[in-house]
């Protein structure tokens, strides 16, 4: 069985109007090459469901690709607000539903487990439950028959397409991830269709030699593409760091919608390989991290001397 396709073919699975979710958290593990390819293909009217995949959210907002966001928290850790995301909400151009981390993760988990809804105590007495017209969070407050006070019932959420990025995968669609995985397992279980991009496609025997790293089994995955540095500018644990130089530049540029539009056009005009070639060999090699600490060697040594 061979599920390997090109990145372009993979992105074509997402159609306008669909709900999508991406792996990752803050500056890590996010399939950004896929996101840029989606934007390049001009897909829009999407519903983004996510816990903290700030980069996907901000870039898709900046590209006016979203109709609605169902999320917990989007921010550029250490650098500030996601400006495109903020502008989209403040201007009313994108609908939204707010959740806590746990509440949204539970919605994914419910779908992954085949449950119709889940019961949580989060959100009780929170303004997140008080909606305003269409922005109203879909929930029911409920008094369970066993007592113990009210709980919030949340429906499961099963995005049309979930896209994950991993360290390596095989032709059967098995995906391995090292380091913190955020809610990737819940997302992969919830997605109606699951797509994967991986740093490298390897022989199945390589994955079988270390099966504990396989977090998304092939049986859940429809198609997979090999995309080296596919998370850039986010990082991949023990492989390459987040590109802080790029992050600083992006954050500065995104304060101004016109400058951002220019930047977005530049990074989405070309395919992923050309994008990497623009970054250059020197910069990509500089992103390599220490295999023990997962950070750049200089940072590692500073940190351990402190």
């Amino acid at each position: 069985m061979n599920k390997v396709v090109s990145l372009e073919e993979l992105a074509e699975v997402v159609q306008p109007g669909m709900s999508v979710s991406f792996s990752g958290f803050a500056h890590s593990l996010t399939p950004m090459a896929f996101v840029r390819e989606l934007i390049r293909q001009g897909v829009d009217d999407l519903v983004l469901v996510g816990v903290a995949e700030a980069w996907a959210a901000d870039m898709l907002c900046g590209a006016s690709a979203l109709r609605r966001m169902v999320f917990s928290n989007f921010m550029f850790e250490g650098f500030g607000l996601c400006r495109n995301f903020s502008r989209a909400i403040e201007s009313g151009t994108v609908e939204f539903e707010d959740y806590s981390h746990f509440a949204l993760a539970s919605r994914f988990a419910a779908a992954a487990q085949g449950l119709p809804f889940t019961a949580v105590r989060s959100l009780i007495a929170s303004d997140l439950l008080a909606g305003d017209g269409e922005q109203r969070v879909k929930h029911h407050t409920y008094d369970p028959p066993f007592g113990g006070g009210p709980v919030v019932l949340l429906p499961s959420v099963a995005p049309d397409v979930v896209v994950v990025h991993g360290h390596r995968g095989d032709c059967e669609g098995n995906v391995q991830v090292e380091g913190a995985t955020a809610v990737i397992e819940e997302q992969a279980g919830a997605g109606k269709t699951v797509l994967a991009t991986v740093e490298e496609i390897v022989d199945t025997s390589v994955l079988r030699a270390a099966p504990h790293h396989t977090v998304v089994p092939g049986m859940l995955v429809s198609q997979i593409a090999e995309v080296p540095y596919g998370a850039h500018p986010t990082g991949m644990y023990r492989l390459y760091d987040a590109d802080y130089e790029y992050i600083r530049e992006y954050v500065a540029v995104s304060r101004d919608p016109d400058r951002f539009a220019e930047h977005l056009a530049e990074v989405t005009a070309v395919n992923h390989r050309a994008y990497l070639q623009r970054l250059g060999v020197r910069r990509l090699l500089d992103l390599r991290v220490d295999p023990e600490s997962g950070y750049h060697l200089e940072l590692t040594e500073e940190g351990w001397r402190a």
Binding site: E178, Q277, V281, R288, D290, E292, L297, T300
Partner: protein, 297 residues
């Protein structure tokens, strides 16, 4: 502890003209090519090159006029043919060739690495090899009166090997997945009077200490370490990257003609200031195409 990490240029500057230089690797595997290019860039001359299974490393150095003596068991461009620069130089007398078998080549490094003056055995008996090489002689055993071949230890002025990782102190490591004949490079590294190790990546002390069984050369054996990602390119580097047969083939073609060879050197060696510039010239596409595992194994 002081750092032994240096630049490639500084490391190679340790090599003096006319000195003995041992170069590790095997056929198309893990020769320290970045160091080879730098030796050529620095215009080293009259070197006595020593290896055990040599390939593009020796052929480039001979082709660039850096060598006076070549001592190894094999020089060829596997999969393509004879090493053409080496062949021309041997046929014209530009270089002197001192022969070895694989075992005798290993013996000279093995002896040099553990401080034995020579290793005696029946190796090379009955062949014309010993007559070509002053390092190989005959001894009579005082135990049984029989003659044996003696291979003298070698302690080259400089030994150069390419490995996977090292900390700044010079503790050098190999991945889990590495060719067993890598340990010839351990003999070579230990035997060097000075030893330069180029590595794919400099890593933290903790990374080394977390897997001490991977350390193939402790810092005591190492003079300096140089970070040179893809430092064996176009040769293979175990499970990290395979050979670039197109690059090797292009070199093989160019090596047949003096003008094309000069163009090759101008483009790939003299036309780039350092190793990173070389990799930029090779380009991301080719580097990713040969990469078989970028993560740490």
């Amino acid at each position: 502890m002081n750092s032994k990490a240096t630049s490639l240029a500084d490391a190679v500057s340790l090599i003096e003209n006319g000195s003995t230089v041992a170069i590790g690797g095997h056929t198309l595997r893990r020769h320290p090519m970045a160091a080879v290019y730098e030796i050529i860039r620095q215009g080293k001359r009259d070197l006595h090159l020593i290896g055990w299974n040599s390939g593009p490393d020796f052929d480039l150095l001979v082709g660039a006029g850096c060598a006076r003596i070549v001592e190894t068991s094999f020089v060829g461009i596997s999969g393509f043919g004879l090493a053409r620069c080496y062949r021309r130089a041997a046929e014209s007398g530009e270089i002197e060739v001192r022969e070895h078998s694989e075992i005798s080549a290993l013996d000279m490094f093995r002896a040099g690495s553990i401080g034995l003056p020579f290793i005696a055995s029946s190796v090379l008996m009955g062949s014309d090899v010993p007559a070509t090489n002053p390092r190989i002689s005959t001894v009579t055993s005082p135990f049984d009166g029989r003659p044996y071949t003696a291979v003298q230890a070698v302690n080259p002025d400089v030994a150069i090997v390419h490995m996977h990782a090292a900390d700044r102190h010079g503790n050098v490591q190999l991945d889990d997945q590495h060719w067993p004949d890598n340990d010839a490079d351990a003999y070579i590294g230990w035997a060097g009077t000075k030893t330069i190790v180029t590595v794919e990546q400099l890593v933290s002390d903790e990374a080394v200490r977390a897997r001490p069984e991977h350390t193939i050369l402790p810092r005591d054996a190492v003079t300096c370490v140089v970070e040179a990602p893809y430092g064996a390119y176009p040769c293979a580097c175990d499970s990290r990257y395979t050979y670039d047969l197109r690059f090797i083939g292009d070199y093989y073609e160019a090596s047949g003609d003096q003008d094309r060879l000069r163009e090759f050197f101008d483009h790939w060696v003299h036309g780039v200031a350092d190793h990173t510039a070389f990799l930029e010239r090779v380009g991301l596409d080719r580097l990713l195409a040969v990469s078989t595992h970028r993560g740490v194994l």
